[in-house]
Amino acid sequence: MGSYLIKRIISLIPILVGISILVFTILHLVPGDPASIMLGTEATPEAVAVLRAEMGLDKPLISQYLHWAGGLLQGDFGVSVHTGEEILPQILKRFLITLQLTIMAVVIGWTLAIPFGILSAIRSHSKTDKVIRILTLLGISVPNFAIGTLLLLGLSLYFNWFPPIDVVHFWDDPAEAFKVFILPAVTMGIVVAAGVMRMTRSAFMETMDKDFIRTARAKGNSQWTVVMGHALRNSSIPIVTIAGMQIGYLLGGSVIVEQLFSIPGLGQYVLDGIYQRDYPVVQGGVLFVALVFVLVNLIIDLIYTWIDPRIKY
């Protein structure tokens, strides 16, 4: 296990190098650069050229990349071209906000999805199952900006309730933070629930057909024991897989939901960076998100070994 972990962590290096090259290249291929955006459309080409030289944008791409990557190796993500702020503290600050939102969305999503998914599977093709499946289909097919807008409009129009705008951390004021995050978390939670619920249903239906479930029944177990004691753990690998991917995505920041509820999360930070061609911000942000995604997947792989003793690394 220890050597597996070390191997996995070493294998992160080429992945991150690859991603850094990719994001760097793509970003520099996009027309427009920070200099021309900062100076506006009226600027003379000479003025832009001067600023470009100042920012080092006239150097060959390869040396620009090496300069940036060299900084990264020393833990230096650089400063924003636009605001001059250090990037890493900004990323971390916004990541904490996204993290709170993700945790709430996932808690909401799973508490809806797993019980209903199990119910849907053990009563498959019943009325209950049909209702649950239709709701799931809605959750998957209605885009989350629509769900979020409806929630926001519905609550403000009919109950005269508006979520507070100022972001509060859970450790400062849990009640206030709950109010801030509840609407966006429900919006994201519905999407999470729909995916997890479908996976739970199909995984359970497959497991409930297995021979060992028949054995469990033949031992005189109740339906509850058969489902919770035998089927749940045996169905959890695909559920954990999809849940892990969702967490990875959500931690990268849900741009649309953050935008809709004006939450200054990671997604919004990177988006603003893109608008302003703020190269270091976008590069650093994307790289950080990639790192988080890969780490979440590593944790999921470790959870597999805890679920299933046959999985050994």
């Binding site: 021979d211 054995t215 029944r217 033949a218 005189g220 177990n221 109740s222």
Partner: protein, 324 residues
Amino acid sequence: MAAMLHIDQLRTSFAQSGKSLTIIDGVSLTVQAGETVGIVGESGCGKSVTSLSIMRLLGKNAEMTGSIRFEGKELLTLSEKEMQKIRGNEIAMIFQEPMTSLNPLQTIGKQIGEPLRRHLGLSKQAAKERAVQLLREVGIPRAEEIVGEYPHQLSGGMRQRVMIAMAMACSPKLLIADEPTTALDVTIQAQILELMKKVRAENHTSIVLITHDLGVVAEMCHRVIVMYAGQIVEEAEVTKLFEEPKHPYTKGLLNSMPSVSVDAERLEAIPGSVPLLHEMPAGCRFAPRCSHVMDICREQNPQLLPVEGGQKCRCWLYQEGDER
């Protein structure tokens, strides 16, 4: 004294896309205390469905009529809760596939301990100790270590021993063994049969043994029931069945068994195959494959009636006089 198990005119059908398919059609059989009754027949003849009917483990779309009495108690009208108290406690079951019939994510000890905790109310520790004891009784070496291991760490034969230990945990009065040796190597098969004999002798358990292997029947059973297409076609004491088979199907089964003593170049096979459920012949269900087929066989299904020699047989060859 009431028989251990008495099944009367059992009919099991499944509802499928609006239609009802009858798998078991009027099966009656009796198992006495301490007796081993074999049920033989080809795949799809309804052997396994009969056993799962007794346990009432067939799922929601199965419908059963008739009567299944266990020690005089009618099982078909019991509630699911009452049935749970019987399963694994008074009637236990072992299955064909030891590789897939154990929960892959639970330790052997926990799985054997489960019926003990549920039916006998043993504590976790007591159940574990009893599990070790049971594993020793079924001949598993290093029982103390095995209780903490998972099914994938054991061979097929070992897993079937675990299944037997699990089934015998609450000393059931009736054991239903559904093809317990089919998936195992021949040498292991013999060991498992020996073990079942030992368990039977020690606990005085009645056994319903479902198999398609007549060798296993000869080894284990007192009485044999031959099933064909959801019906019993012959019932006999085990020696009678091998010495004087009556039904053409039973004869066919016996002839298709390889034997060292008979110097035949080819094994005889029964021509044709089991009729499909929705294409059951109007008369005798075996008629299309029977070498002695007569006109009446195609028109009317014969009754299962006693014939000379003390066995019962469902065939027009033996009941011309009585019926007409």
